[in-house]
Symmetry: C2
Subunit: 341 residues, 2 copies
DNA sequence: AATTTTTTGAGGTACGCACCTCATTTTTTG
DNA sequence: CAAAAAATGAGGTGCGTACCTCAAAAAATT
């Protein structure tokens, strides 16, 4: 049987009330007494029964996800997963809400984050690019005792508690190696497509990708990234220009969102060029494209895992308990048609 | 606020005692009353607070892992992971024990399984090959209300509640496709190594592997499996024979355990032959070999995930709650040096 | 030493639920 | 219709913890 507060009280030779004061850091206990109690806790190996404690506290963890309201399939799927997981999370005393913010508006985002403090929100999960405003807002939240976790997109220079997601340089490197191996011995150019290189993920992936392929230069040459910034026509023009300039394009690497569009724009060229197509993020579209054979590899992260992990980490932070690193490590998943389940 | 038993008592116009009788399936309630209570439960969307219930019940889930005592690195790691997860599980009212059984002794295993019934064990997790004795033992356990889950190695023709692990045919197919792509356009033979083809995993992986490579025949030819049945010398003889018979061996596929040994035996040949080496199960050895470059790809399953998932499933079974399919699906992980974290 | 301040103890109530007893009401049966 | 049987209600106790109050004891101050 696990020891209870009563056992501690007896072992430490103090009353229940004192143990309670120590456990919950209430004032009015001498240092020596605190130490005596802590020694008893140590010796008996007492761990607070969190479910009983939460019951007594009538506690509900209040968490907020701040997510971009973009309509890429990945962002959609992320929002849906959060909703889904939130429904289950109710059973574990968690109230999870989502706030959507327009992408590319740091001021708006910062205002939203500021607004979260002062309510009863105990933890915030953010997916957004890092800007000075965001950094300040996060510091503000932390100062007011709110746990802050970033997901998918890291915020390394902030005071966040944790990042839930993959190492995007390694992900890009993985893509690069697979590109190299899937190309066999062919030589030619590789097209890199991305919505915008402002997002740190895209930059990091590109970095890793290049690093993995530099050793094959000049047999394989990675072309400068083509961005489209939500402008389909710009994309089309640039892709057409690329195929006009080089007749030996043998691979395509898409660093971020936009696979639906890219697939469409690339379609006419694929009839003449055999391409190895590597993309990121497993979504409805990329899944279908894997099955159909138009995408060869998808590098992804399990989004359900990301969301569940985020909640576990937030809870651990407010409870000040340990997090299980092995469980919370998000893997870089390599998905082929064959291991798609 | 979530509704409580009191709320449904009030809503159904019955007393707390009656609600309790209905909730816990105690006798002495008329059908009409039961329905009335259930309607109230439905309408208010009541869900039992499991942590409060478990607190009141002074419940501890008692689970047993029945694992092979073999000393392959995978089996070792599995046992260690179970120990590790078990330590954390105590906080969630779970008492997890491990029973080791000698591999290849179905009678012993069946005896152990029979012995588990009658105690207070509520769930059993088994990793073992399927035999008639095991089937009977599992039926016996199920009949006595013990939840049974298999992990890693499926027991499809038994009355088990669930299987936690990967689809090994798909895993083999994945290995096959990667072999094909990593080989580029080369032609030659592929060595398949496995300790024993008695284990269903090995057979299934081989099946999938062949299916993925049959289309390349005869450019690529997959040789008959070399088994070693715990006899290193047999292995060495056979490998030597294979390299003597064929001078164009270009790939190695190891379907199961034994990578440490295989690496050693293959070493002398690798100096002359460039080999694509694909293995299963990420262990200390395969990890090091990936980094060192002697293994190119490891197809694996996250063993921590497997064990945690097993516990969640067992708990869900005894609680008769839903399991989250997305969370419990074990992925076929493709590990390269680059996405090794 | 007397007084003030701090520390400690004793005890209660609540959280949401399980499980128990006994009295009372309702239904069924002869 | 009475007696027996079944169903229901009322109420209590405990699980391990939080949080509160008030009195008593101990320590620090004058």
């Amino acid at each position: 049987m696990r020891p209870t507060v009563n056992d501690i009280a007896r072992a430490a030779g103090v009353s229940l009330a004192t143990v309670d004061r120590v456990l919950n850091a209430r004032p009015g206990v001498r240092k020596v007494t605190i130490e005596r109690v802590n020694r008893a806790i140590e010796e008996l190996g007492y761990v607070r029964d969190l479910s009983a404690a939460n019951l007594a506290r009538r506690r509900t963890y209040r968490f907020v996800f701040v997510l971009p309201e973009g309509d890429s399939q990945f962002q959609r799927a992320l929002r849906e997963t959060v909703e889904e997981v939130a429904r289950h999370a109710v059973r574990e005393r968690m109230a999870v809400n989502t706030v959507l913010v327009p992408p590319g508006d740091p001021h708006h985002l910062a205002r939203v984050l500021h607004g979260l403090e002062g309510g009863d929100v105990e933890g915030v999960a953010i997916m957004a690019p890092e800007t000075p405003h965001v950094r300040d807002a996060i510091r503000h939240l932390k100062e007011h005792g709110v746990a802050v976790v970033s997901l998918v997109s890291d915020l390394p220079n902030t005071e966040q508690d944790h990042f839930v997601g993959i190492d995007n340089i390694a992900a890009g490197r993985t893509a690069g190696v697979l590109m190299r191996r899937f190309l066999g011995g062919s030589s030619g150019k590789i097209l890199v497509l991305g919505n915008t290189m402002i997002l740190r993920e895209s930059v990091e992936r590109r970095l890793g990708f290049d690093a993995a392929l530099i050793e094959c230069y000049p047999r394989i040459e990675v072309l400068p990234s083509i961005e489209w910034r939500d402008d389909p026509e710009l994309l089309e023009r640039n892709v057409r220009a690329a195929f006009a300039s080089y007749d030996n394009i043998i691979g395509v690497y898409v660093t971020g969102s936009g696979n639906r569009l890219f697939s469409r724009v690339l379609a006419p060229y694929r009839e003449e060029h055999e391409l190895v197509y590597i993309a990121h993020e497993l979504t409805e579209h990329t899944r279908a494209a894997l099955i159909g054979g138009s995408i060869d590899v998808v590098i992804t992260q399990d989004i359900g895992h990301v969301v569940r992990s985020t909640l576990r980490v937030l809870r651990a932070k407010v409870d000040r308990t340990e997090i299980d690193a092995a469980q919370e490590r998000i893997r870089i998943d390599i998905i082929l048609k064959e291991n798609l389940t």
